[in-house]
């Protein structure tokens, strides 16, 4: 049963990575930029939920919604003021700006909320569900995380495949010039993408801190990098790829912790990434469409 427990914690951690990676991959797919500040949006989301629930005693669900609302606005503002002016700049300039935004958010959080750790109380309580006569117990947080990830994945797949806005996003991700000729407002499409990605980051932040309750201004950076890895692992730009990459990364990390070494687990994770990229440079589900020119 310990093995099953590891699998479950792996999938749970992987679900959080997957939700973050979905935001990374969507923004990359459309704006063709790596938003390294994405991880810090997670942290902001967690703080908003923390204050809403702990200080203002709002119900947890309201806390989550508040976090999503604030992060959505934050994502739109960051895009509007930091990235949009660089739309035609070299990608290196955009990348450095994203790192700058990341530090800005971390230091802003330190100023506003101090570097002292906050103890986040889980939004779904600390209860556990006992299965197989108590041989296997699953926390509500784990269940909520896995279910949220699956729901988000299905919703996003439906959105990009069936709605007009979702299709316009795919059109923009392929060819912004042609999309504009169709009458699609590329700038507002990019804004919507940032909004969705940031709302997802807020959810990921709440779930992450529900599972690992220490909240500090740098809480988002390591999961952010891991999720970026997951997105590349699965094939950056691909929504199912981010989902698969996130899940696998979580499972590999937990297995490495359990069976190899706690200290070396991150090294194992990145070693796996390197091997995968050597064999499949576009990632597991990277797009390799045969394009006739």
């Amino acid at each position: 049963m310990t093995f099953l427990n590891y699998v479950l914690s792996g999938i749970s951690l992987g679900s959080i990575y997957a939700i973050i990676a979905l935001g990374y991959t969507m923004v990359y797919g459309i704006a063709k930029m790596l938003n390294f500040a994405h991880g810090d949006v997670i942290m902001v989301g967690a703080y908003i939920c923390f204050f809403a629930v702990t200080r203002y005693s709002l119900p947890p669900l309201v806390g989550v919604l508040a976090a999503m609302a604030v992060c959505t606005v934050l994502g739109i503002l960051v895009e509007r003021f930091a990235y949009k002016p660089l739309r035609t700049a070299p990608s290196l300039a955009v990348l450095i700006t994203a790192i700058g935004v990341s530090y800005f958010l971390q230091n802003g959080a330190q100023l506003l909320w101090t570097p002292n750790p906050k103890v986040f109380s889980s939004v779904v309580g600390t209860g556990r569900l006992a299965l197989f006569g108590g041989q296997l117990t699953v926390s509500y947080v784990t269940i909520t995380t896995i279910v949220s990830c699956i729901v988000i994945m299905i919703a996003l797949t439906w959105f990009t495949g069936n709605t007009k806005m979702g299709k316009a996003m795919r059109a923009c991700s392929e060819d912004k010039g042609a999309a504009q000729l169709m009458g699609i407002n590329v700038n507002s499409t990019i804004s919507v993408t940032f909004a969705i990605g940031s709302a997802l980051a807020a959810i990921a932040g709440v779930l992450l801190c529900s599972a690992y309750p220490t909240l500090v201004p740098t809480t988002g950076s390591m999961p952010g990098i891991k999720a970026f890895t997951a997105a590349v692992f699965g094939g950056i730009g691909s929504i199912p790829g981010a989902f698969l990459g996130g899940l696998l990364l979580g499972v590999i990390e937990i297995f490495a912790k359990a069976y190899i070494s706690t200290q070396l687990s991150d090294a194992v994770v990145f070693a796996v990434l390197i091997v995968v990229l050597l064999v499949k440079p576009a990632g597991l589900l990277g797009k390799q469409v045969s394009e006739k020119v």
């Binding site: 299709k167 316009a168 059109a171 392929e174 060819d175 504009q180 169709m182 009458g183 699609i184």
Partner: protein, 233 residues
């Protein structure tokens, strides 16, 4: 006049690509812009469709000044472009490409799709196929069908014959004439001067960013200068 371009100057950085071009397209016409590679034909078209903006000059479409209008607002005014190199959405299906063509419309009646499939029966067979798997000719047809979905008043085509076998070029030109017969005004940019002059009511010859000659299609096709420079004889 449907489209009036007055004295536009367009720059790529420091390069003066279009030097004071003026031309008009009247409702119901087929107008061709012909000229050699690099003469500024595509740049002119990109400027009309708002992908680029001129430094000086004025562009008027249906009485409205669109010189500085954002490109994405133009399809709703009745302007559509089939861009150079087709630029269809290769990872989307044929149907989705057509839906994107109708992006400016809230509701898309089935008859709009049927209309495209009538012009291009082959697209109907391949409606659920990913566009990247179509042949070059089919991709050009999809690009044209996609533009048709917005019900343009003025359809601009940039090098529709590029890279296609002669038999397909004939077909594409036949379809352009069908569009025209159905009431769409056409602005055509072509390197294939012979074909373009055959169907054009009027044409302008571009040379290094300026208009060197203009006249009716027949006049230009008969002109010695054109024959020598563009028609291989």
């Amino acid at each position: 006049m449907m489209l009036t371009v007055e004295n536009i100057d367009v720059f790529y950085g420091a390069i003066h690509a279009i030097k004071g071009i003026s031309f008009q397209v009247d409702e119901g016409e087929i107008v061709a812009l012909i000229g050699a590679n690099g003469a500024g034909k595509s740049t002119t078209l990109k400027t009309v469709s708002g992908i680029m903006h001129p430094r000086n000059g004025k562009i008027t479409f249906l009485g409205e000044d669109i010189t500085r209008t954002d490109g994405y607002k133009l399809p709703a005014k009745g302007l559509a472009q089939v861009p150079e190199g087709r630029r269809i959405f290769l990872q989307m299906t044929v149907m989705e490409n057509l839906e994107m063509g109708a992006y400016i419309h809230k509701k898309v009646p089935q008859s709009d799709f049927d209309n495209v499939f009538e012009h291009f029966p082959r697209l109907k067979e391949r409606r659920s196929q990913i566009a990247g798997t179509l042949s070059g000719g089919e991709q050009q047809m999809l690009a044209m069908g996609r533009a048709l979905m917005s019900h343009p008043k003025l359809l601009m085509l940039d090098e529709p014959s590029m890279g296609l076998a002669p038999i397909l070029v004939e077909e594409i030109f036949k379809i352009i004439q069908e569009f025209h017969a159905a009431g769409t005004t056409i602005l055509l940019v072509e390197q294939n001067a012979e074909m373009a002059l055959q169907i054009a009511d009027r044409a302008y010859v571009l040379e290094s960013g300026a208009i060197a000659l203009s006249g009716t299609g027949a006049e230009l096709a008969a002109s010695d200068e054109i024959k020598k420079a563009y028609l291989g004889g």
